[in-house]
């Protein structure tokens, strides 16, 4: 039985609203990490390391090391917010709190629950990005108005990382198992996606590997937008992330159905 898309969106938003209601009660705590994290990183890597590193050449432009890593920190924050929300936090709701089981007795479907969770994870990415933008802009490291495009990019990146996180959530036997995707997926991306050094400095085979990682494309977007460069080649990165969402989201929903519906 098909529902009109508007009805699906409305019901999906119910899940989002539930999480928003909970978030509002703890927002003061949730605000702290995205506020402090970039400060720590900028201090440690920017001030500490830049003395050693000096300037970085990025797509034919010489940049200070701080300017180089600041947009990457935004991308990492987008990844982390959605990824950790839709792994650990979603798992707690699904497995320990039986929140999904309760909701499945209402007119909401499993698809809507999972979509709502992913959109919520992406929302946390957007909130985190907005806070970071304020901090980083204070250092004069974001070019406006292009920099504002980082917000929709955060949504897109959040959806991609939320979807893959949800896929992991649908298959892990217990919460400890998330260590695996964190160390095999998140950490390598954190290090090798052109975050702290340009991808071009890697050996060729490694560089093509890096091109498969979603964070590489997200970093490309945040960096170019932060510098105010808007060209058509960015569409490749957007296309990659859209395709990633389009493939992974149905997979996550399918696996979740197999897990929860007995």
């Amino acid at each position: 039985m098909k529902s009109p898309p508007i009805a699906v969106i409305r019901r999906t938003s119910r899940i989002w609203q539930r999480n928003w209601t909970v978030y509002r009660q703890t927002w003061k705590i949730s605000f702290v990490p995205p506020l402090l994290e970039p400060l720590f990183y900028l201090l440690a890597f920017g001030v500490g390391l830049s003395a050693l590193v000096g300037e970085v050449s990025y797509r034919g432009e010489a940049l200070s090391y701080v300017a180089f890593i600041a947009p990457a920190l935004v991308a990492i924050n987008i990844m982390n917010n959605a990824f950790f929300e839709n792994t650990y936090a979603s798992f707690v709701r699904m497995y320990y709190q039986k929140t999904f089981d309760a909701i499945l007795a209402t007119p909401l479907s499993l698809t809507e629950i999972i979509l709502g969770e992913i959109v919520w994870g992406a929302t946390k990415s957007v909130i985190g990005t907005a806070i970071m933008l304020v901090v980083i802009s204070a250092f004069g490291l974001i070019a406006y108005p292009h920099g504002l495009l980082l917000l929709p990019v955060a949504l897109l990146g959040g959806l991609a990382f939320g979807a893959i996180a949800m896929l992991f959530t649908s298959v892990v036997p217990n919460i400890e198992t998330f260590n695996l995707p964190v160390f095999l997926f998140v950490t390598p991306m954190f290090l090798f996606s052109g975050t702290f050094f340009p991808v071009d400095t890697l050996p060729v085979w490694f560089r093509s590997l890096a091109l498969f990682l979603p964070l590489t494309h997200l970093v490309r977007l945040t960096r170019d937008l932060a510098y105010g460069r808007l060209d058509l080649s960015l569409l490749w990165a957007v296309g990659y992330l859209l395709l990633f969402c389009a493939i992974v989201t149905p997979l996550a929903i399918g696996r979740m159905r197999r897990r929860l519906i007995r």
Binding site: M1, S3, R10, R11, R14, Q17, R18, T21, V22, Q97, K98, T99, D101, A102, I103, L104, A105, T106, P107, L108, S109, I261, R262
Partner: protein, 303 residues
């Protein structure tokens, strides 16, 4: 009489195991219908199919005359479910649990608030409206589960062991609430392990064992049919008495240290037994649903 639930040859399998093995029953509008059975009988599996959580593996299942798998949304919006385990949202307060759940049914905010208020009053949890879920007692949790199941003003209320783990006071509280709902015309389907609960609340019930229906009917009819009016229990019976019971071909159950004699003509037999065979340890009591249950499902542990 309109039938709100029609199940025919309903099957649920887990791999090759048939948890629900072809059961048929009908629930009429306004009645309270019970599903009884030992642990693992298939009660929860049946209920999960009823509210559209589990897909069935065979048979027919209509709720409000519609196929639950074809029109899950319309049907789910008209039923309320109180699951066996507590699935309250621990991130929210008591009142928020009701109001957030109301959103899932698209109940407008003002109406949801009002409804939550009524229900908090109904279950006596008004003073705890701001409490977090983990601070509630077992009885409060169960009552809140009941209130949450009622948030959409359902036509059918489905309850999976609503009073398990509650003290007598809390159980009576829940019974009173359920009787009140029934008097308002709500159809109720419940599972329970408490025979007194089933006898008190249910108009009709069925006993399920290993996925199959053993009997179905009104509690009193079932007692009359399968046990009789009265039961005589004899503690530490002597061999002489055992022989008498066997010779007279009285329906009975010999548990070793205890002998239970069913049916008979009650008083007369009791008189004879007490004067001729046992001076003490012999009691005559009314037959109960528990006798029916134990006679039909046996006394061995399940699972």
């Amino acid at each position: 009489m309109e039938e709100v639930i029609v199940a025919e040859n309903l099957v649920k399998t887990f791999g090759s195991f048939r948890a629900v093995d072809g059961i048929s029953f009908r629930v009429r509008r306004g009645e309270c219908f019970g599903i009884l059975g030992p642990n693992g009988a298939g009660k929860t599996s049946t209920i999960r199919m009823l509210y559209g959580f589990s897909p069935k593996d065979g048979g027919r299942l209509d709720v409000f005359g519609r196929d639950i798998e074809r029109e899950p949304r319309q049907i789910k919006s008209r039923i309320g479910v109180c699951q066996q385990e507590n699935t309250l949202d621990p991130d929210l307060t008591v009142q928020q649990n009701l109001e957030v759940f109301a959103r899932y049914f698209d109940i407008p905010r003002a109406q949801a608030r009002q409804r939550a208020e009524q229900l908090l009053h109904f279950i006596g949890l008004e003073p705890r409206r701001q409490a977090k879920i983990p601070t509630l007692s077992g009885g409060m949790l169960r009552r809140l589960m009941l209130a949450r199941a009622l948030i959409n003003n359902p036509e059918i209320l489905i309850l999976d062991e609503p009073t398990t783990g509650l003290d007598p006071q809390s159980r009576h509280q829940v019974w009173l609430r359920l009787e009140e709902l029934k008097s308002l015309g709500m159809s109720i389907l419940l599972t329970t392990h408490y025979m007194d609960e089933a006898a008190r609340l249910c108009d009709r019930l069925l006993i399920l064992d290993q996925g199959r229906i053993l009997v179905e009917g009104a509690p009193l009819d079932l007692i009359r049919q399968h046990v009789g009016r009265e039961v005589i229990e004899i503690a530490t019976p002597e061999e002489e008495l055992r022989r008498f019971v066997r010779d007279q071909q009285l329906p009975h159950e010999d548990l070793g240290h205890r002998l239970i004699v069913y049916g008979g003509d009650g008083e007369g037999l009791y008189h004879r037994l007490t004067t001729d065979y046992c001076r003490q340890g012999c009691t005559l009591r009314m037959a109960t649903l528990e006798d029916v249950f134990l006679r039909l499902t046996g006394r061995e542990l399940r699972e």
